[in-house]
């Protein structure tokens, strides 16, 4: 149904390795999820213009917010999914699929660039994973 949606409608799946199996990580993410698609511009302001002008160059890029949440050692959960960063030049990508509601889906090919485990007093142990987007962000 068209309209507004909240975090209860969002879901995220992420492959557990390059070209791996998609795992639902929604239940572990404590800080939400954001997907950004960008189009690169170049300034085309020229002599005679009274206002600045920008023109797309035909190149897009994507950004995904750092994933942060609950660290779990259960099989197919966050430690198993993120503990091996992608370090092979021939590695396949890892697909991330984010649904924000009303079946609006962003599909992104990524590389897992870093994985961090954080333990602190009076809290459960958390993880933090940085992914870099490679290729286009595809909305459907």
């Amino acid at each position: 149904m068209a309209g507004k949606y909240g975090s209860s409608s969002a879901s995220v799946t992420y492959e557990d390795g390059p070209g791996g199996t998609a795992r639902n990580i929604s239940q572990f993410l404590l800080n939400g999820i954001s997907v950004k698609k960008l189009s690169s511009m170049t300034s085309t302001t020229a002599l005679g213009d009274s206002a600045t002008e920008e023109t797309p160059i035909g190149m897009t890029s994507g950004e995904v917010a750092t994933l942060e949440g609950i660290w779990s050692t259960t099989s197919n959960e966050t430690h198993a999914i993120f503990n091996a960063v992608d370090d092979g030049p021939q590695d396949d990508t890892r697909e991330m699929v984010v649904v924000f509601g009303d079946s609006k889906t962003a599909t992104i090919q990524t590389r897992l660039a870093s994985y961090e485990v954080l333990a602190s007093v009076d809290d459960i142990t958390k993880f933090r994973a940085e992914v870099v987007v490679t290729g286009a962000v595809v909305w459907s």
Partner: protein, 247 residues
């Protein structure tokens, strides 16, 4: 047991020193892979590829300055490297407790690059440590956590099952964080194809008479099951934390 964990499940050992005795407030370990922009002519979207180089960051936040034997001041005061030939430190850490088979980390080659002691008005004196890691992060499992052993022992009756053998060798870390009285202590990681017939896989050097840590590797095949055996000489007490990564 698989699942979620908290700060109470953390272990941190540096060269046999148990640094949790100084009550650090936080512990982070971060593994990163360097990427290169491989976007070329004809691409319509930015592309990134791994270059095959990883790095490790290890951060320990806010410990209490303690001059007790085998506490943080003894562990750090003389540890900063002063020559290019300085020996790196052996670090083991865990976030999931000490049950055999749970995940843990060994850090291949670590130097303490900063040791700071801070006396503050109205508070306990604190000690901060900065680590610089040179080498790999070994994603391991706990094979043994034993405290106050007074005689030879082994874990063959409660081994760690990998479900299958592996062929790429292994890396083992042994942190001996308590060692008193004995004239010798030798730890051994052992493997078995059937959980009954055991053979030595990695034999650590004699730890002698004081705490310490060792990192050892073996090439070739490792059988499905892993266990640990501790062999002591004389009368005394020993405690160890041992982890293994199948590489």
């Amino acid at each position: 047991m698989a699942g979620k964990y908290s700060g109470q499940n953390v272990k941190l050992y540096v060269d046999g020193y148990d640094l949790l005795g100084s009550n650090p407030k936080g512990l982070n370990v971060k593994l990163s892979s360097a990427m290169e922009d491989t976007t070329g002519l004809g691409s319509s979207a930015i592309e990134q590829s791994p270059v095959g180089l990883t790095s490790v960051e290890l951060t320990q936040e806010g410990a209490i300055f303690d001059t007790g034997t085998a506490e943080i001041h003894a562990a750090m005061v003389s540890s900063l490297p002063t020559t290019p030939q300085a020996t790196a430190r052996v670090v083991s850490l865990g976030f999931a407790g000490t049950t055999r088979g749970v995940p843990a980390y060994g850090v291949e080659s670590t130097f303490n690059t900063e040791y700071e002691v801070i006396a503050e008005q109205g508070g306990l004196t604190k000690a901060n440590v900065t680590y610089n890691v040179s080498g790999a992060l070994n994603d391991s499992v706990v094979v043994e956590y034993a405290t106050a052993k007074t005689a030879d022992w082994n874990t063959e009756s409660s081994s760690v099952d990998n479900s299958a053998s592996s062929a790429g060798g292994a890396v083992a870390y042994q942190q001996t964080f308590l060692l008193t009285g004995f004239s010798a202590f030798v730890g051994t990681v052992r493997d078995s194809p059937n959980d009954s017939a055991w053979s030595d896989l990695i034999v650590f050097d004699d730890e002698g008479t004081t705490i310490g840590a060792q990192r050892k590797t073996v090439a070739g095949s490792c059988d499905r099951y892993l266990s640990y055996a501790g062999n002591v000489t004389g009368t005394g007490t020993v405690s160890v934390f041992v982890t293994v990564e199948r590489t």
